[in-house]
Every structure is written in structure tokens, then in C-alpha cells.
């Protein structure tokens, strides 16, 4: 199914018509979008189009900027990596915001996640209390990050050492076993087996050309003339 990235299954109608029309430029509507963001923060969904509309209003009306909202939008965008959402948000922020706390902190996290340096990400994240404060309003932040890391691992590996996986998802003991089970993976003697999927099968394919009959009508027609 073709889809627009990060559209939740159900977008409220009022939000849909806001995003689609000229009302998205009306500063009075910012609170509706901000409330919608608050809902996303608690129900673990993410609607990037709607959140970009908030940043657009901030871009035009700098007096509206609410630092906490900007922060939450960026934290939300972190949970959607490797989608490009985080940078799409940065492009709408002014230089001052991007070069100051707390945004630089979040950029540091993004940097590690983008490079798939997952172990380093958890070290940084756990190493400073500020990160837990910044992500506090986004419910299930760690869980979302962990799910995305699991996706990256499942795309790359057919089997992986338990010890590496443990560092990537930052879980131990029973929690790790439960996590592995929840993904549908199996662990045996220190190695986790991941079922083959379309991304980790690495099958050699041969591209063959596909000529449709319609493309030949000219030639066939020509041979009749001769």
C-alpha cells in the first residue's frame, strides 16, 4: 500500500482539514495542533505532517514558539528514525534554536541513532539525567527506540551474538529474554536466530527486461506493410 510516511491510522477530521487548507497558517489554530501533539505523546502515535504544521506556524510567528512543544516534537521525531522527520523539523527551526540547548542535546542523540551506534546511544542516554528529563513527556520513548533498533537488527542479521544484541537494545536477563521472544526470535547457546525476512535474505536476483506486447505493435504493423 502506498502511504504517506508517519500518518497514524486515524487522524482526527479537524486536524486533517487544518493541514489541508489555508487554516494551517492561522496562528489561532496552533493550540489545536499542540493539543494533538500532547495526545500523540501519550498514545505513542506520531503524526509528522501535523507536527510540521506547528513548526510552520512557529516559523512565521516567532512569538508563539513554545520550547517544550519544540522539544517534544523533536523527541517524537527521534522515535521515528530512520525516517527523515527529525531533520525535516530542524529545517523549520531558526538557527538560534538549533544551536542552543536543549536542541543540541537531541541532535547528539540523533547523530548516534542515525549512525546505528546503538550501544553508544544508550551510554550517552544513561550518562546524563538531562536526557530523561527531555524525553519525559513522550510516553514509551525508550520502548520506541528499542523497537526501531530491533528493526535495524532484523534487517541486517540472520543471527547475532546475544552479547551484541544486549548492548544494542540495552536490556539484560529476563527483560532481554522477553524482548527476544516478543520479536519472534529464538536464542540458543549465546546466539539469537532471526527468521529470514525480505530485508535480511540477501538473495541474488537477476533483473530481466519485460517487454509488453503493446510495445511491439509498431514493429508488427510494419511487417504487415512490407
Amino acid at each position: 500500500m502506498a502511504r504517506v510516511s508517519n500518518t497514524p491510522a486515524s487522524r482526527p477530521e479537524v486536524i486533517q482539514s487544518l493541514i489541508d487548507g489555508v487554516d494551517r497558517y492561522n496562528p489561532d489554530n496552533v493550540s489545536i495542533l499542540e493539543e494533538y501533539l500532547a495526545t500523540q505523546c501519550t498514545n505513542k502515535e506520531c503524526d509528522t505532517m501535523a507536527n510540521l504544521a506547528i513548526l510552520k506556524l512557529y516559523q512565521f510567528n516567532t512569538h508563539l514558539i513554545n520550547d517544550q512543544v519544540v522539544n517534544n516534537i523533536l523527541v517524537k521525531a527521534l522515535t521515528t528514525l530512520p525516517e527523515p522527520d527529525f531533520n525535516l523539523c530542524l529545517y523549520l527551526l531558526n538557527e538560534q534554536l538549533v544551536t542552543e540547548e536543549p536542541v543540541v542535546r537531541l541532535i547528539a542523540l540523533q547523530d548516534l541513532l542515525e549512525q546505528a551506534r546503538y550501544a553508544d546511544f544508550w551510554t550517552a542516554y544513561e550518562g546524563d539525567d538531562i536526557y530523561k528529563e527531555l524525553t519525559a513527556e513522550v510516553l514509551g520513548f525508550e520502548e520506541s527506540i528499542r523497537t526501531n533498533i530491533a528493526n535495524a537488527v532484523a534487517m541486517t542479521f540472520q543471527s547475532i551474538e546475544l552479547e551484541s544484541l544486549q548492548r544494542y537494545v540495552h536490556l539484560k536477563g529476563q527483560a532481554l529474554s522477553d524482548f527476544i521472544k516478543a520479536q519472534g526470535w529464538t536464542e540458543a547457546s549465546g546466539v539469537v536466530a532471526i527468521p529470514v525476512n525480505k530485508d535480511n535474505e540477501a538473495k541474488t536476483t537477476v533483473l530481466t527486461e519485460n517487454i509488453k506486447f503493446e510495445q511491439l505493435t509498431k514493429i508488427i504493423g510494419h511487417s504487415n506493410d512490407a
Binding site: A2, M49, L92, E95, F157, S159, A202, A226
Partner: protein, 542 residues
Amino acid sequence: MNYEEDIDIASEVDLVVSAYPVQDDGLDEELLAADQTSQQYQEVQIPEVVKNFIVFFHRNVVENNVYELHQIYEHSFNKLTEKFYAKESWPEPEAISPLVNDDQVFLTLYRELYYRHIYSRLTPMIEHRFHSYENYCDLFNYILNSEGPVALELPNQWLWDIIDEFIYQFQSFCNYRNRIKNKTEEELAFLRDNSQIWSCYSVLNVLYSLIQKSRITEQLLVSKNGGDMQEAAGEYGSRPLYKMLGYFSIVGLLRVHCLLGDFTLALKMMDNIELNKKQALFARVTACHVTTYYYVGFAYMMMRRYADAIKAFSHILTFINRTKQYHTRSYQHDQINKKGDQMYALLTLCVTLCPTRLDENIHSQLREKYAEQSNKLSKPEEAMQVFEELFLFACPKFISPNGPNLDDPEVMNLTPFEPVQHYTKIFLSEVQHSILLPTLRSYLKLYTTMGNAKLASFLEIDPEQLRTLLMMSKIRSRQMKWVSGTLLEGEYQGTSDLDFCMKEDMIHISESKVGRRYGDWFLRNINKFQDILGGLELTTKA
């Protein structure tokens, strides 16, 4: 139609304007006085042939003779510009007013050309910027707020140029306003008191109003899904002037949103325009066609949808190649070539970030223009510099929507916000992660299986670092790609011909290969046989 930004011009403007002895709010009067002196000067100067031209021009506007206007607009005006006004402005509108019976509509159109000529050939001063804005307001007011639809008809090319130039001058003004150092007190006061002039909201308002008045969205939906076009278009939209202005405004919004760094919204503007449709309206004006694809491709690139960007750039570059002989004569030839070069540069970046087999013609052109840069992009130590160079050369001239806060007494001491630098920085921080990927790829291509540690030693990096690199490369090789529907829709697809998987510490590599192509072979041989048959028939006859 001028894509160049006049960075060095700001200081000259300052010099000239500060030469006026201006009181606090007397700027306009002073400027008016200056206008009048130059007007008297101009009156004597108008050559007979130009006078005749203006009279002829006026008559054809009044008679709505679109065919003649096309000639006038694309040829005569430019010819006369070369001959008389290559280095000075066209006669002041007030000076030609008697020639056209003081026809205000014609004078507004004339001013549009008059200011556009100043922007493209000379140095626009602050009063030109303001008056040109006012003139656009007059023009759009006339079109949008007259009683009922206006009878005016203009060539499509001109209508496109009106929208294009309106946005260009907006962009030019934003950059001018951003450079507050070495502006005079008067200029600053003027900017402070007229903050609504060339504001984002006013520009968006014009473009959206044209879209609404023309009911172009409804018309596009009918042409896509069927229905009654007359009813959808309504009183205004059924006239070509409104329809085309509405349509061009959609492309205009695509551009404005790119300039403001909102790439998602930019592509959303195109929701109802089918890019793949033959005979799409944007193709009626070459400059519009090229602009559309440049901004669509650019927005895709910024959204990391490199495969879609490559497709957009390849499409339009093929078009430019094929139609070369037609537009060499056009006055827009240089602009189109420049945009073409920029798109080859962007294509070079995209192909580095997402290795793709290009169309043969495009590929050879790319090698011709950017072979050296292309090679450097695959070398980690040189890549970043080339990424920056090509991006700066090829990106749109981004704007800051608000400009500096002139009420802040500290503002003169702050470093001005440079939007282009800002966007470049974010883009570079993103591609920086990818600079090792071409090297990694070249190694992977040589093997079918390989130990992680061994490859790490080849690359001279830590084995753990290689693993993260491999994961990153895997993630980057899956992209959202357009399949059907609106431009923002897509499916996740693999975009690389090289794939791999890891079983613990062992990398298994697979490469997709292109099978033998039979079509070409058969076609060539069918032709050959036809020649032989033809030859045989001739010999039997003889």
C-alpha cells in the same frame, strides 16, 4: 527571470540611497522628486521606434490579441532592450502614460516589465523594491477584486513569468532585508515601518487567492476523476488568464515552501497535479516545466527520497537534452541551462548517496560535467568539501521568513542569520555519516562472503564500528519510493543492487545482476532482415 542573487549589490544600494538628504519620514517624497527629474530626462530620450512599439503594444493589450502579444513579449521587447536599454531602465511609466491614454491597466503591466528589467539588468534600489511590490499588489487586486472576471488575456509565458518574478523579488527582498549591516538609518526606518511589504503572509495570500479564485484545484480534480469541467471552473476559472495563474501559483507555492525549508509542504502543494501525465499544463511553458521538476527533485532529495529525486532530475534533464535545438533561441536559454547544470550537480550528489544506474545519455553528460567531483565524492577525505561545493552551487536561495528584529537595539551587532548556511549545515551533518559507504560498497562488491573482522582490517576501522556501518548502510538502502498516488506517498523499497546479510560475524553478500537484454538484439536483427529483404527484392526486380 533572474535566479542570481545580488550579494555584492547591497552595499552599492546603500551608497546611492544615502546620497539623498532624507528626513525621517520624507523618504518617499525625496524619491518621488528624484523620479520626476529622471522622468523629464527620459521624456526627451524615448526613441521614435520605442514610442511606436509602446503604442502597438498597448493596442494589442486592449484588443486581447494574444498571438501578437506573444511576439511582442518574447521578441520585440527583448530586441528593443538589447538595442536601447541594455544598461539603463526602460522609460519611466509616467513618461509613456500620454502615449497610452493613461490606461492604468496597461501601465501596471508595463511597470511589471519595467521593474523586472531593472532587477535583471540593473541594480534594484530600495524604492524599486517597494514600488514593484505595490505594482504587483495593484495587478493582483485588479485581477482578483474587480467586479467580475477581467477581460484581459496574456500569453502563458508572461503569466508564468509574473508568478515567477513575484516570488523571485520576494526572495531577493528577504535576502536584502537580512543584510542590515551598512544600511542607512533611513533604510532601516523604512524597513521597520513597512514590515508588511514583501511579507511571507502577503505573498502566500496572493498565491492562495489566485488558486481559490481560479478554482484550479476543482478543475484538476475533474480532469483526473471526470465530471463537469464548466461547473468546476466557474465564471473565473474558465478563462485562461485565471486558470493559468491559478495553476502557476501551485508551482509557485512548491517553490516558496522549498525556499522556506518546508519540503513536505512543498510536495503537498502538488497533491492534485499528476507529474506523469502527458500534456500536463506545466509542460506548456518550458521554464515552468523545468522549475517544477527542479523543486520536486530537490524536495525529494531533502526528504532522503533519493530514488525519487533521481527520477525527477533524470526526467527533466532528458527533456532539456531533447529540446535543446528549440530553446537555444529563447531568451530563457541561459536560465534553463543554468538550472540544468544545477540539476546535474544535485544528481551527482543523489547518485553518490544512492548508487543508481542512470539513463545512458544522462550518465555521459554527468561524466562530462562532474566526473572529477564524482570521483572525489567516493573518497572519504575529499567528499565533504565536494558535497558542500555542489550543494551550495545547486540549492535554491533559501530565505528567512522574518528578517532581523529591527526593534532590538542590539541587532546591528549580531551576526545575520544566513539561511543558506543554516540549511547547508544540516544537510552536511546528514550526509557526513555516509562518506564511508562508497568505500564499503566497493569492497563488498568483490566478495560473496567475508568475515567482519577481516573487512574491518581492510577498511582500517574497528570491527564494532564496521558492524554499525553495515547496519547503517542497510537502513540507508531502503527508501520510501513513489509508486502511485500523490507525490508524498510511497512504499519502502530496496534501492541498491548490492545487498547483504550477517550471520553472526560473517557477511554474506549478494548482487543483483542485469540479465541479457533480448529486445535490443531482436530489434536490430529485425531491421537487418528487412534491409536484406529489401535488397533481395531490388535485385530480383533488376
